[in-house]
C-alpha cells in the first residue's frame, strides 16, 4: 500500500516537475514558454511523428493531439485534420504502437478528448507514454468537477492533468481551477472553438492578473493564436503561449516539394524569437 502511494506521487510529481521546469527556464531566459500543438496522424502517421519531433526541437512543450470522431471544442482546421488522421488509422491504440518513433527534445503533453483515454485506461496509458517523454495530459472536455470526481482517487497512478480556464469563468472559479491544475493553467483566449482569430477576450487578461495576485502558478494562453505578432503581444501578460491550428494550416498548405518542413521551421523560429520580452 505504502509502495503504491509512493509511485503515484512519483508519476504525477515527476510529470509536473518536467512541465513546470520548462516554464522556469523560459522565465529565466526572459521569454514566455512556447507550447505547440500538433495532431497525431496528419497528414499521415509517419509524417506527423516527424513533424512532432521537429517541433520539439524549438518548443518548450509539445502537445500531441489524439484524433477523435467528435471534437466539439475544435474549429474547422483541427476537425479536418482529425478526419484525415482517423482515415489514416490514427487513434490512441496506433499512437501507442508508434511510441518508439517519438524522439522528443522537450516534454510532451497528450491532448485528447476523454473517451479514447477512458477506453484505454488512464493508468496504463500514463505508464506507457511516460516512458517516451510524455509528461502530462490536457482534456478539453474535462472540467474541474469531473476531474475531482474521476481522477483524484488516491493510488491513481497517472500523469498530471492540466486544466482549462475560460474568459467567462468567475474569478472564484478560475482560482479554484488554478489550485486544482497539476501543471500550468491553460487559459482560453476567447469564447469559441480552436482556430485563428484577430481579437482576444479582455476578461482573460483580467483573470490572469487576478489569479497571479493570489497564487503562484504558471499561466499559458491558447486558442486562436496564429502569428508571431500575437505571440509578442500576449507574451507580456502570460507565462506561456500555445499555438495549434496555425501549425496544422502550414502543413495543410505545404508544397509537395517541401520535404524538410522549411516553412514550419521558419514559422517556429519567428514565433520563438517573439517569445522574448522586449525590455523597456
Amino acid at each position: 500500500m505504502k509502495h503504491s502511494l509512493k509511485s503515484e506521487q512519483t508519476l504525477i510529481n515527476k510529470g509536473k516537475y518536467e512541465i513546470l521546469r520548462k516554464f522556469e527556464i523560459a522565465k529565466k531566459e526572459g521569454r514566455s514558454a512556447l507550447i505547440c500543438y500538433y495532431p497525431f496522424g496528419f497528414p499521415d502517421i509517419p509524417t506527423s511523428l516527424d513533424i512532432i519531433n521537429e517541433i520539439s526541437k524549438q518548443a518548450d512543450l509539445v502537445e500531441i493531439g489524439i484524433p477523435f470522431t467528435d471534437p466539439t471544442a475544435d474549429g474547422k482546421t483541427i476537425q479536418n485534420a482529425y478526419e484525415i488522421a482517423l482515415k489514416n488509422g490514427a487513434n490512441i491504440n496506433t499512437f501507442i504502437e508508434n511510441l518508439n518513433h517519438l524522439k522528443l527534445q522537450c516534454p510532451g503533453i497528450l491532448m485528447s478528448y476523454l473517451n479514447p483515454v477512458y477506453q484505454f485506461g488512464i493508468e496504463e496509458l500514463s505508464l506507457r507514454i511516460s516512458k517516451k517523454g510524455i509528461s502530462g495530459f490536457i482534456f478539453p472536455d474535462l472540467p474541474l468537477e469531473e476531474k475531482v470526481r474521476h481522477f483524484n482517487k488516491i493510488n491513481c497512478k497517472r500523469l498530471p492533468i492540466n486544466l482549462l480556464v475560460s474568459p467567462n469563468d468567475s474569478l472564484l472559479r478560475a482560482i479554484k481551477i488554478a489550485k486544482e491544475t497539476e501543471g500550468f493553467v491553460y487559459l482560453v483566449s476567447s469564447l469559441g472553438v480552436t482556430g485563428a482569430r484577430d481579437r482576444f477576450d479582455k476578461r482573460i487578461f483580467n483573470i490572469a492578473q487576478e489569479v497571479k495576485k493570489s497564487l503562484d502558478c504558471y499561466l499559458a494562453v491558447g486558442f486562436g493564436i496564429s502569428n508571431p505578432e500575437q505571440v509578442r503581444e500576449l507574451g507580456s501578460t502570460f507565462d506561456g503561449i500555445i499555438i495549434g491550428s496555425a501549425l496544422v494550416s502550414i502543413i495543410e498548405y505545404k508544397k509537395r516539394s517541401d520535404n524538410d518542413f522549411k516553412e514550419l521551421k521558419d514559422f517556429l523560429n519567428k514565433v520563438k524569437n517573439n517569445t522574448y520580452k522586449i525590455r523597456a
Binding site: 477523435f68 470522431t69 467528435d70 471534437p71 466539439t72 471544442a73 475544435d74 474549429g75 476537425q79 478526419e83 482517423l86 487513434n91 490512441i92 491504440n93 496506433t94 478528448y113 476523454l114 473517451n115 479514447p116 483515454v117 477512458y118 477506453q119 484505454f120 478539453p140 472536455d141 474535462l142 472540467p143 474541474l144 468537477e145 469531473e146 470526481r149 486544466l163 482549462l164 480556464v165 475560460s166 474568459p167 467567462n168 469563468d169 468567475s170 472559479r173 481551477i177 482560453v188 469564447l191 469559441g192 472553438v193
Partner: protein, 392 residues
C-alpha cells in the same frame, strides 16, 4: 460549482468544454427557480393546453389489438401541435431561456421534429432561432426543413462527419461555445451534459403523468406494460419516469437495429454499445476499440444516434427498463399496418415501438400502452421510396 447530483448511478455528469460550464450552472439555477415558481408553471400548463393541445388522448387501438393479440393503447403525442412530443420540451425550455434573458435559441434536429417544435415555440414566444441539421437529414426530411424556414428559423446545414443528428449536436455545441453570452441551447433529448438530461425528462414527464391518470380512469388500475422508442430517449424518459418505481408495470424501451441486411450498422447503443464519454456525458455509446464513435444507422432519423440519454443507461443496468431492438423492415411493416388498421400514420420512430408489440404478445403479455411519439407525414417520402413497387 456544478451540482453534486449530476449523475444517475455512474452515468451522466458534465463533460463539457470549460466555456460551457458557467452556462450550465446558470441553466441549472434557472431550472431550479422554475420548478419552485407556481406562476411560471401555470403559464406553461396553459400553453401546453391551449397552444400545444394537451392532454393528448389515450386511445384503445381495437383493430391492432385484434390483429396482434394483445390489448394496445396508444398515447397520442402525434396529435400535438407540430406533430410530436418535442413541443412539450421546446415550450418548457423556452421559458428557461426567457428567465435567463437570452434573445436567441439554437437547436439540433435529426428528424426535424425538434427543429420544428423549437422554431414554432420561438415564433410564438419571440425568440431568434437557428436550427442545426445534418445534410443527410435535410435530404430525408424536406417537409420539416420548409416548415422551419416558414416559421422564421434559420436552418444551418451540417456537413461534418456522418451529416446526421450527432454532427448537428457537435455543430450546435461549437456555435454555442462561441456565442455563449446571448444564446440558449435548447437541446431536444435527454442527452448532453448535466443539467439537460434532467431538464428534458422533467418537461416530457407530462406524458407519463397523463397516461397514469387516463389509464386509471379507464381501468381503475395501472397498465401491465409501457412501450416507447429510444434514440436519445426523450419520449421514453418522460413516459416511463412517473412509473419507474412501480414494480407491477413493465417498461420496454425499443432501440433501432438498423437494417436486417446489415446488422452491424444500427442505433442500438444500449444493446450493442458500451459505456463511454460522448457529447457531455458518460453513457452507452456505439464505438470501436479505440474509443472512436461509430456512425449510427436507422431508417428513422430521430433514432439515428450512436448514444443514448445517461438515465436510460442507469435504468438498463438496474433492470428498471428492458431495452429491445426493432429493425428497419419491421418498423416499415408496422408503419403500414397502423395506417391501414387504425387510420393512424405513425412516425417511423414511433413505428419501432408499435412493431415491438408483436414480440410482447409472443412473450405472453396481455396489454401495453405505446407512446405514439409522433406522426408520420414527414416519413411518407422515405416510405414510398422503399416501397415503390407495392404502390404504383
Amino acid at each position: 460549482m456544478l451540482h453534486r447530483n449530476r449523475y444517475f448511478g455512474k452515468y451522466g455528469g458534465s463533460f463539457s468544454a470549460e466555456t460551457l460550464v458557467p452556462l450550465l450552472i446558470e441553466i441549472e439555477e434557472a431550472f431550479e427557480e422554475f420548478k419552485k415558481n407556481r406562476q411560471m408553471k401555470e403559464e406553461l400548463e396553459i400553453m401546453l393546453k391551449n397552444y400545444a393541445g394537451r392532454p393528448t388522448p389515450l386511445f384503445y387501438a381495437k383493430n391492432l389489438s385484434k390483429k396482434i393479440g394483445i390489448d394496445v393503447f396508444l398515447k397520442r403525442e402525434d396529435l400535438l401541435h407540430t406533430g410530436a412530443h418535442k413541443i412539450n420540451n421546446a415550450l418548457g425550455q423556452m421559458m428557461l431561456a426567457r428567465m435567463m434573458g437570452k434573445k436567441r435559441v439554437i437547436a439540433e434536429t435529426g428528424a426535424g421534429q425538434h427543429g420544428v417544435a423549437t422554431a414554432t415555440a420561438a415564433a410564438y414566444l419571440g425568440f431568434e432561432c437557428m436550427v442545426f441539421m445534418g445534410e443527410e437529414d435535410i435530404k430525408r426530411q424536406a417537409p420539416n426543413v420548409r416548415k422551419m424556414k416558414l416559421l422564421g428559423a434559420e436552418v444551418i446545414p451540417v456537413k461534418s462527419g456522418s451529416k446526421t443528428l450527432k454532427d448537428a449536436i457537435n455543430e450546435a455545441l461549437r456555435f454555442w461555445i462561441a456565442n455563449a453570452q446571448d444564446t440558449y441551447y435548447l437541446i431536444g433529448s435527454v442527452v448532453g451534459p448535466h443539467p439537460y438530461p434532467r431538464i428534458v425528462r422533467y418537461f416530457q414527464s407530462v406524458i407519463g403523468r397523463e397516461t397514469k391518470i387516463q389509464f386509471k380512469m379507464l381501468k381503475n388500475r395501472l397498465p401491465e406494460a409501457l412501450v416507447a422508442c429510444v434514440g436519445g430517449g426523450s419520449n421514453a424518459a418522460g413516459f416511463f419516469y412517473p412509473f419507474i418505481d412501480q414494480k407491477d408495470v413493465k417498461l420496454f424501451g425499443v432501440e433501432a437495429g438498423g437494417s436486417l441486411k446489415d446488422k452491424k450498422k444500427n442505433s442500438a447503443s444500449l444493446n450493442y454499445g458500451k459505456p463511454g464519454i460522448f457529447q457531455g456525458c458518460l453513457t452507452y455509446v456505439l464505438q470501436d476499440k479505440s474509443g472512436s464513435v461509430l456512425e449510427a444507422h436507422s431508417v428513422a432519423p430521430g433514432l439515428d444516434y450512436p448514444a443514448v440519454g445517461p438515465e436510460h443507461s442507469f435504468w438498463k443496468d438496474t433492470s428498471k427498463v428492458e431495452y429491445g431492438v426493432v429493425y428497419d423492415e419491421e418498423a416499415l411493416e408496422y408503419f403500414e399496418i397502423l395506417s391501414k388498421e387504425e387510420g393512424i400514420i405513425p412516425a417511423l420512430e414511433s413505428a419501432h415501438a408499435v412493431a415491438f408489440l408483436e414480440k410482447l404478445a409472443k412473450k405472453g403479455l396481455k396489454e401495453a400502452v405505446v407512446c405514439l411519439s409522433g406522426r408520420g407525414d414527414k416519413d411518407l417520402e422515405t416510405f414510398f421510396k422503399i416501397r415503390a413497387n407495392s404502390y404504383q
